[in-house]
C-alpha cells in the first residue's frame, strides 16, 4: 500500500499517508491505542472501508478502483475475524462456516438451505476440524462458549481458502487462557497453511508472542514497523505516546 489515506464521511482522518508492504506468509501484529486507526487499516485491505487517496494492491486487485463483483471476489479470498465473532447465532455452526463459501458458489445455491456442493461441505468440515470443534458442527452457534464461537469464526474464514486472514481484536472479548488458545489457532493457520495473518491487538505481550512483525499506529500514522525483536518497551511507549502500563499486557 502506498500513501493510503482514509477519511470518513464524518471528516475524521483515520489513516494518514500509510505505506506498507506485507509479504505472503507474514504474521503481523498491528498495535496502537483505541482510535489510532487499527480497524480502519484492516478494513481498507478488504474494501469494507474505501480509501480516500493513495493506492492499495492486494494480491492482483487494485483496491482504489475495485467495485462490485471484483470487490466481492477479493473479499472471497480474504478471511476476516471480528472481536464480537459475528456469527448468525440462531443457525447451525455448519451454516455459519459455509458463509465462507458464498463468494465461491452460485447465488442460487447459497440461497437454498442445503444446496451447497458436497465439496464445499467437505471444506467446511475440514476447517472445523482444524480448529478442533468438528463435534459441534450441528449445534446452534448461540449454544457455544465465546472461545468456541471465535473458533467457528476462524473456521468460517478458513473455509474461504483464503490467502490472507484479517483479525480485528480477535481475543478482546475472551478470558486470558481462551485468548491464548485462539491466538495459537491463528498462529497455526499461519505456520501450517502459509496464510498471511494480520491481527489487531492492543495488548503488548500478545502482539510480541504471536507476531513476527509489529506495526505501530498512532493517530492514523505508522510510527513503528519492524520485526518483533526490535519492538522494545521504549518502542511501545512511543506508539502509545506514554509509558507502558500493566493494563497493556494480558499477563498469563
Amino acid at each position: 500500500m502506498r500513501d493510503v489515506t482514509v477519511r470518513y464521511a464524518s471528516g475524521v482522518v483515520a489513516l494518514k499517508n500509510v505505506s506498507l508492504d506485507i509479504r505472503p506468509g507474514e504474521m503481523v501484529s498491528v498495535v496502537g491505542l483505541s482510535g489510532s486507526g487499527k480497524s480502519s487499516l484492516i478494513r481498507t485491505i478488504n474494501g469494507l472501508v474505501p480509501i480516500t487517496s493513495g493506492s492499495l494492491r492486494v494480491g492482483g486487485y487494485h483496491l482504489e478502483s475495485a467495485r462490485g463483483g471484483e470487490l466481492r471476489r477479493l473479499r472471497g479470498e480474504i478471511g476476516m475475524i471480528f472481536q464480537g465473532f459475528n456469527l448468525a447465532k440462531r443457525t447451525s455452526v455448519l451454516n455459519n462456516v459455509l458463509v465462507g463459501r458464498l463468494a465461491h458458489t452460485t447465488t442460487l445455491r447459497t440461497l437454498l438451505l442445503g444446496a451447497y456442493r458436497a465439496s464445499d461441505r467437505e471444506i467446511a468440515f475440514e476447517a472445523l476440524n482444524r480448529v478442533g470443534i468438528l463435534s459441534k458442527v450441528w449445534d446452534r452457534a448461540s449454544s457455544l462458549s465465546g472461545g468456541q464461537q471465535q473458533r467457528v469464526a476462524i473456521a468460517r474464514a478458513l473455509c474461504q481458502e483464503p490467502r490472507l486472514v484479517l483479525a480485528d481484536e480477535p481475543v478482546a472479548s475472551l478470558d486470558p487462557p481462551t485468548a491464548h488458545e485462539v491466538m495459537d489457532d491463528l498462529r497455526r493457520i499461519n505456520q501450517d497453511l502459509g496464510i498471511t495473518v494480520i491481527t489487531n491487538l492492543h495488548l503488548i505481550d500478545l502482539a510480541r508472542s504471536y507476531g513476527t512483525r509489529i506495526i505501530g499506529l498512532r493517530a492514523g500514522e505508522v510510527v513503528f514497523d519492524g520485526p518483533v525483536e526490535s519492538a522494545s518497551d521504549a518502542v511501545f511507549a512511543k506508539i502509545y505516546g506514554r509509558s507502558v502500563e500493566s493494563a497493556d499486557v494480558l499477563g498469563l
Binding site: 466481492r72 476476516m80 447465532k89 458463509v99 447459497t110 440461497l111
Partner: protein, 263 residues
C-alpha cells in the same frame, strides 16, 4: 455536608399541552355526539331481552352450516395472509434502511402507512367492482391490509437485526441476496414467523367482519339471520365465531410464544 446542586427539571410543556388538547377533544366529543341519554336507561333491559332471545333456546341444528361458513371465513383469512406475506416480504426489504435507496424506501413506507390507515372493509368495497361479491374479494382485501402491517413490522425487524453477521457475510464476499439470506434472515426468522401468525389471527377476526358486505363466510350468514330476526340462530352463530376465533388465537399464540422463547 455538601449541598447538592440539583439540576432544575425541565418542564415538559409539550406533554402538558398535548394532555390538555386531548382532554378537550374527549369532552368535546361527548358533547357533540347526539345521544338520546334517556334511552340509555333502557339499555340494560334491552340487552337482556336480546340475550334471552339469542341464547335461551339456541337453534343447534344450524351448527354444521355455521361451521362450514366459519371455515370459509378462515380460508379467506388464510389465503389473504399468504398473499399478504408473499407481497410484503420483498417490499419490507425495499423499505429497510441499508438495503434500498432512500426514495424507494420512503415511497414503500408511505404506501404501508396509507394501507394501514384504510380499514379492510373499505378496501373490499373499493375492489368489489372488479372482483365481485366473492370470497376472493375478501381474501384480496385482507391481503392488501396485511401488506400495510407486515411491511412495517418487516422493515422494523430487518433494521433491528444484529449487524455482526451482516458484516461477516459482506466481508466474506457475499452479494446483497446472500447477505440477506445469511446475514439477516437467520436473526429475523422468529420475528417474521411470529408477525405472520399474529396477522393471521387479526385476519380471522376481520374476515368475519368482511362478511357484512356480502363476500361470504360467517359474517354474511350472521347478517342474513339478523335481518330475518332469527335470534336463536344468531345466538348459535355468535357462539361458533367466538369459540373458533378464540381457538385459533390460542393455538397461534402458543406457537408464537414457543418461537420467541425457543431462541
Amino acid at each position: 455536608m455538601t449541598v447538592l446542586t440539583i439540576p432544575s427539571r425541565r418542564r415538559a410543556w409539550g406533554r402538558s399541552t398535548a394532555m390538555i388538547i386531548v382532554g378537550a377533544v374527549v369532552i368535546g366529543a361527548f358533547w357533540s355526539v347526539d345521544v338520546n341519554w334517556a334511552r340509555l336507561a333502557d339499555l340494560p333491559a334491552q340487552v337482556m331481552h336480546y340475550l334471552w332471545l339469542m341464547f335461551s333456546d339456541p337453534n343447534w341444528s344450524k351448527v354444521p352450516e355455521a361451521l362450514g361458513q366459519t371455515w370459509k371465513s378462515v380460508a379467506m383469512a388464510w389465503v389473504g395472509t399468504v398473499i399478504g406475506i408473499l407481497l410484503s416480504f420483498p417490499l419490507g426489504f425495499l423499505a429497510a434502511r441499508g438495503f434500498s435507496p432512500a426514495p424507494v424506501r420512503w415511497s414503500m413506507r408511505v404506501g404501508f402507512a396509507i394501507i394501514r390507515a384504510v380499514p379492510e372493509i373499505i378496501i373490499a368495497i373499493a375492489i368489489l367492482s372488479v372482483t365481485g361479491l366473492t370470497p376472493l374479494t375478501g381474501a384480496l382485501a385482507l391481503a392488501i391490509g396485511s401488506v400495510g402491517t407486515l411491511g412495517k413490522w418487516g422493515y422494523e425487524a430487518i433494521e433491528g437485526v444484529d449487524p455482526g453477521p451482516i458484516e461477516a457475510t459482506r466481508a466474506s464476499g457475499g452479494n446483497i441476496a446472500q447477505i440477506l439470506r445469511w446475514g439477516v434472515w437467520p436473526s429475523a426468522t422468529p420475528d417474521f414467523i411470529s408477525f405472520w401468525l399474529y396477522r393471521f389471527e387479526i385476519n380471522v377476526r376481520s374476515s368475519a367482519v368482511l362478511g357484512l358486505i356480502g363476500v361470504g363466510g360467517i359474517g354474511d350468514m350472521l347478517t342474513s339471520y339478523t335481518q330475518f330476526r332469527e335470534w336463536s340462530t344468531v345466538g348459535v352463530l355468535i357462539i361458533v365465531v367466538v369459540i373458533v376465533t378464540m381457538g385459533i388465537d390460542a393455538i397461534s399464540g402458543a406457537i408464537r410464544r414457543r418461537i420467541v422463547e425457543g431462541t
